[in-house]
Every structure is written in C-alpha cells, then in structure tokens.
C-alpha cells in the first residue's frame, strides 16, 4: 500500500479524475503556478494546462457561480474556495443556486459541482482564516457535505464527490494536510453517507470530525490507560449522515461524546446529539457530552487560540464525565 499525505491524496484524486475525464476541471484562486495556498494543486497546471487548472480572480461569487453554470451544462468542476471563511462570499451561489436548481426546476437539472475548501485553527491565522462553518451548509437541503480526516478517506470521498450528481461542499482541515497514511493502490471510491469506525471500544463512543478525529484517537489511547474503552467514529459525511452506524455504536457503549472544532453552540454536534437521544434514548447511561470551540471568534494570540479550540484533553475530560470519573 502506498503512503500519501492528506494533501497528496487530494491531489491524486483530482489528477486521476482529470486524466480519465475531460469534463473534470479545477478552478480557484492561485491554484495554477502557485499550486494553491495550501499547495494541494502543486504541479497540476504542468500536467493539465491552464484551461483545466484555471486560476481565477479573487472573486468567490463568480468562481462559485461559474462552476455551477458549467456543471449545469454537463461539466464536473471542482472549485477551490481558498479558506472556509470565504465560503461566506460564495454562499449565495452555493445556497440559493447550486442547492436549489434541481428542486426549483422540478428535477430537470443536475448540478455536479464540488466546492473544496479548508479551514481550522491551531496555527494562529486569526479570526478570518480559521473558522469551521460546516454547520451552515449541513442546514441546506440540496447540498451534500463531506469532511474527511485521513488520506485514504479524503481521496476516496473526493472521488465520490466529483462523480456525485449533486453539489458537494467538501471540507478539508488545514492542520491535516501534512499527515500521512496508507491508501489503496487504486482509488477506491468511498460512498458518501458512510461513517468509519476508527477504533472499537466498549464504554464510550466519541463521534468526531476533521482534526478532532485525531485528537479523539489520542484521548482514547489515554483513556485506555485508565481502563476506559473508547470507540471513535468519524461520520466523514455530515450530510447525508450515517445515523445507523452512530446509533449502533452508542447502543453498544451506552455513552456518547460528540466532538468538532467548530463552536459547540448550534454546531453540527447538536444535531448528532439530537439523533442519538431520539434513537438511542433507552440505551443512554449518561448525558451526551459535546466538545467544540468556545463561543468566540478564533483569537490570534496562541495562548488564547489554544484556550478556545478543543484538544485531546478536552475530549478526554468529556469522556471521563460520561463515566463519572473524577479528574
């Protein structure tokens, strides 16, 4: 099995799709010669040329809208929105246009477009380059929302997103680009809407997304030393949500922690908690714990940033609370 970084895995999915399919192309700010602000598309312009690795002006509304327009005409564009924070600029086109064309036309239109974006704190970019906005987009009927946390998942899910006939908002996490992991020799498409159990356990289920998957795995290793067995599940796709896998896990462990980096309040975890309490109410032995960022913009100073966002230790504390362990 080859080993790829998360960054290389994204690039590999894009490149392989573009090699086999002329309808697939990528567009975004600084993605050509510069290779994207995160280096994800480095070198791709050399292989595919500037027509298909298309630099755009700093113009999120137009680049999102143009991707939608091209998708409606049968292309499969992948638009890169440089930072998740800038999704706010593109959101009219994504929310009012991409998500609704099929519905408003009574099923006449398909919009096979992917909006790749990335965000996340932990490197002091400040309040306008670090937000996690997945909760905005899971709230919109007509969009699919994907948030992979490993090289294997990001490659297989990006592939599936490109070939999905619906608009997909595809979140990557800034701090994960460098992590490495084994991937299958050939791309194995990962179905959208299928969770992954990263680690099996008996006492508590931690449902985590993005960077928090890794933080939760670290917390699980710590908890194990204390004799607490933690199961870690990554939904990978936030919309549609694999409720079945999440509920089955909680019915087994009887306790749940939901962890994401976005602010806890009104976050994606609230929906997960609601699903669990409704579908596994009689199995729960403790209140569902929620882990996320404090309710502030992301601060700049490293000490404050670290205070605001959740870590492995935050997950561990939540795990302990569910089993009434004093810390």
């Amino acid at each position: 099995m080859p080993e790829l970084s998360y960054r290389e895995a994204v690039r590999d999915a894009l490149s392989q799709a573009m090699r086999q399919d002329n309808d697939v192309f990528i567009m975004g700010e600084d993605i050509a010669e510069m290779g994207g602000s995160m280096g994800v598309t480095a070198g791709m312009v050399d292989e595919f040329g500037p027509e298909r690795v298309r630099n755009t002006p700093i113009s999120e509304m137009a680049l999102a809208g143009a991707a939608i327009g091209a998708a409606v005409q049968g292309m499969r564009p992948v638009a890169e929105i440089m930072y998740e924070d800038f999704m706010t600029l593109a959101s009219e086109q994504i929310v009012n246009q991409a998500a609704k064309h099929r519905y408003m036309s009574g099923g006449q239109i398909k919009v096979p477009v992917v909006f790749r974006t990335q965000g996340g704190a932990g490197w002091s970019p400040g309040a306008q380059h670090a937000q996690q906005l997945e909760a905005w987009f899971v709230h919109i009927p007509g969009l699919k929302v994907v948030f992979p946390s490993t090289p294997e998942d990001v490659r297989g899910l990006l592939w599936s997103s490109i070939y999905d006939d619906n608009p997909v908002v595809f979140f990557e996490h800034r701090t994960l680009y460098g992590i490495k992991g084994d991937v299958p020799e050939e791309i194995e498409p990962i179905p959208i809407g299928k969770a992954r159990v990263h680690r099996e356990g008996e006492d508590v289920t931690v449902i985590a997304t993005g960077r928090m998957v890794h933080e939760s795995l670290a917390a699980a290793a710590e908890a194990e030393k204390e004799g607490i067995s933690v199961e870690v599940v990554d939904p990978r796709t936030l919309q549609p949500l694999d409720e079945e896998t999440l509920v089955a896990s909680v019915k087994k462990t009887n306790r749940a922690v939901v962890a994401h980096e976005a602010v806890t309040r009104m976050g994606f975890g609230a929906e997960v908690a609601a699903v669990l309490q409704y579908k596994a109410f009689d199995w729960l032995d403790a209140p569902i714990e929620r882990v996320g960022a404090r309710f502030t913009p992301i601060p700049f100073a490293p000490v404050m940033e670290s205070f605001v966002i959740p870590h492995a230790s935050t997950v561990l504390e939540a795990v302990y609370r569910t089993v009434n362990k004093k810390t």
């Binding site: 192309f25 027509e51 298909r52 755009t56 002006p57 113009s59 509304m61 137009a62 680049l63 999102a64 809208g65 143009a66 991707a67 939608i68 327009g69 091209a70 998708a71 409606v72 005409q73 049968g74 292309m75 564009p77 009219e92 086109q93 009012n96 246009q97 064309h101 099929r102 519905y103 408003m104 036309s105 009574g106 099923g107 006449q108 239109i109 398909k110 919009v111 096979p112 009927p141 007509g142 699919k144 006939d165 619906n166």
Partner: protein, 323 residues
C-alpha cells in the same frame, strides 16, 4: 466554431410573427394579472408589460443550443424562448404540468429542453452561471452562446461585476442583456446608480457594448444577432444595453406611489412596443383584431388547461431535493 448565417434583419412575414408573439405575451400577462386579482394564482407575480420587444427580439435571434437565464420578471422570456403558454400558465397555477412541475413558480421558471436554464429570484443571481455555462461551451468547443437577462437594478450587485469581469477575462461566449427600464422595484435609477450610462460599467471591464432602443423589436433583434455572432465567433462576451420601459408596477398590485402617473400614461401612449410595430407594419384594425382574437384564445386555453391540471401531492415536496 460553426459559421453563422449573417441574417441580421427580419423579413416582413417574420415581423408579423413577431407582432403576434409580443401580443401573445401581452395578453398572457394581462390574463395573469386578472387571474391573480381573482385570487386564483398563489405567491406574487411580476409582469413584463412594455418589455415584450426585448424578450422576443433577443430570443428570436438565438440559435438552437443557446441558453438563457432570466429574472424575477420571466414570463416574457420564457414564452419567447419557446415554452408553451399552457406549461407556463400551469406553473403559475402550481400544477404538475407546469414547466417547473409546480416546484418553481413565477420566479423560478425552467425549461431546460428549450434552453431556459432558469429564472432567478435573486437579483443578479443568474449572471455568474451564465459565465459558467459559456465557459463550458468554450472548453468543449461548442458553437453555443449563453445569454443573461437582468435589469438596471442588478448592475449594482456584486455578482454582476464579478460575472462580467470573469466573462471578459476568459473571453467566454456570453451575452449580457441589460433590460434598463429605469426602475429597481420602486427605486429610480437616479437613486440607485451614480452614473447615467450603465454601459460604462461593462466598458470598465473592456467588454464590447452595444446599445439599442428596447421598444423597437426589429432593432433589438438586429443588435442581438450581431452580439450573438460576435460572442459565437470566439471574440468574447458582449454587453447589450436595452433601453426599455416598464409600463406596469414592479409586481401585480403595486400602487406605484413612487411614480408620476402622467409619465406612465405617456409612455404607454408613445413607447408601447406593440403599437410601435403595428404602426410600422401598417396592420389594419381588422387584421390586428383577428390576431388579437387568436392569441387571446391561446391564453384562455392556457387557463383552462391549468385549471384542469394536476395538483402535486403534498409529499411530492420531498422529491427532487437530490439527484
């Protein structure tokens, strides 16, 4: 790129058709207004009375395979692009037989088979997608053009500027048709724009601009042909500034308290595109009445068709969210 026949003018017979088509749109809109006031049509509606020449002149100039994106004032464009009045009226009645099968309504009219990729209720919302549709045509080497309709109010919104900038940067085959009726809902152009010639906004991007009297359907057609030919030949997008008049309110029931009543009346007397063409062609009262009776019958039939249409089941609302 395919060679385009240089047919930039309309023959007299064609003009009779054009007159008939504009009259059909007028009678359709009047009927819509009447049925809305009678309480039969849900939602709210914007009619394009006075702007028929722009819709007909531009759409007639299109080739098979060209696409349009329309606005909240979409009935005229939709009929001119070939949707049957029955399908349009049925949509306004919320029936399954409607062109959007009851999912869209007046402001979300789609007829993809006939190249209408959607009317947009967000002002300026369709423009970036027209740039994108044109990009797809360009990338695949197809001799097709994507056309956006929008009003003067839309030239203030970001999507307008971003879409035109990108279109010109990439020289995509798009035509941006500004229907300048001087009103953004109730706000006159003097209050919504600091410049008097909105073409200047397109010129700022280096885009080719053309200007035409939007009440003269022959001129609109001719200008649209030239613009389409230019875009189709790969030279880049064109901005067509159509100077037109809105003879009615922003929406049905708009009391137009913001507008001088005499002005509206004078415009109706002097700038009605149907009267102008009729006079130009010298159509006799008898011939005009015959034409009128014919289109009125089509419109009446569309109402009957719609009233007899099928209501969607409530749970049909759950379909078509995802492909």
């Amino acid at each position: 790129m395919a060679k385009v026949e240089a047919k930039t003018t309309l023959a007299k017979g064609d003009l009779q058709d054009v007159l008939r088509e504009m009259l059909l749109i007028r009678r359709f809109e009047e009927k819509v207004e009447e049925r809305f006031r009678a309480g039969e049509l849900p939602g709210f509606l914007h009619v394009a009375i006075g702007q028929e020449a722009c819709a007909v002149g531009v759409c007639r100039a299109l080739e098979e395979g060209d696409v349009i994106a329309s606005t909240h004032r979409a009935h005229g464009h939709t009929l001119a692009k070939g949707t049957h009045p029955n399908e349009l009226m049925a949509e306004l009645y919320g029936k399954q037989e409607g062109c959007s099968h009851g999912y869209g309504g007046s402001m979300h009219l789609y007829d993809v088979e006939r190249g209408n990729i959607g009317a947009n209720a967000v002002v300026g919302g369709g423009l970036p997608q027209i740039t994108g549709a044109a990009l797809a045509f360009q990338m695949r080497g197809e001799p097709r053009v994507a056309v956006a309709f929008f009003g003067d109010g839309a030239t203030n919104i970001g999507t307008f500027h971003e879409a035109l900038n990108l279109a010109q940067l990439w020289k995509v085959p798009a035509v941006f048709v500004l229907e300048d009726n001087k009103w953004a809902e109730s706000t006159p152009e003097l209050q919504h724009s600091p410049i008097r010639d909105l073409s200047d906004r397109a010129k700022a991007f280096g885009m080719k601009t053309m200007k035409v009297d939007g009440q003269d359907v022959e001129a609109v057609y001719k200008t649209a042909r030239q613009a389409l030919e230019y875009a189709r030949s790969g030279k880049g997008p064109v901005f067509v500034h159509v100077d037109c008049v809105r003879l009615h309110g922003h929406y049905i029931g708009d009391p137009q308290v913001y507008r001088d009543k005499d002005e509206a009346r004078k415009l109706a007397e002097t700038r009605d595109p149907i009267t102008l063409l009729r006079t130009k062609l010298g159509v006799s009262d008898e011939d005009f009445e015959e034409m009128d009776a014919e289109v009125t019958e089509i419109v009446e039939a569309s109402v009957e068709f719609s009233k007899n249409g099928t209501d969607p089941a409530p749970e049909d609302a759950l379909k078509n969210v995802y492909a």
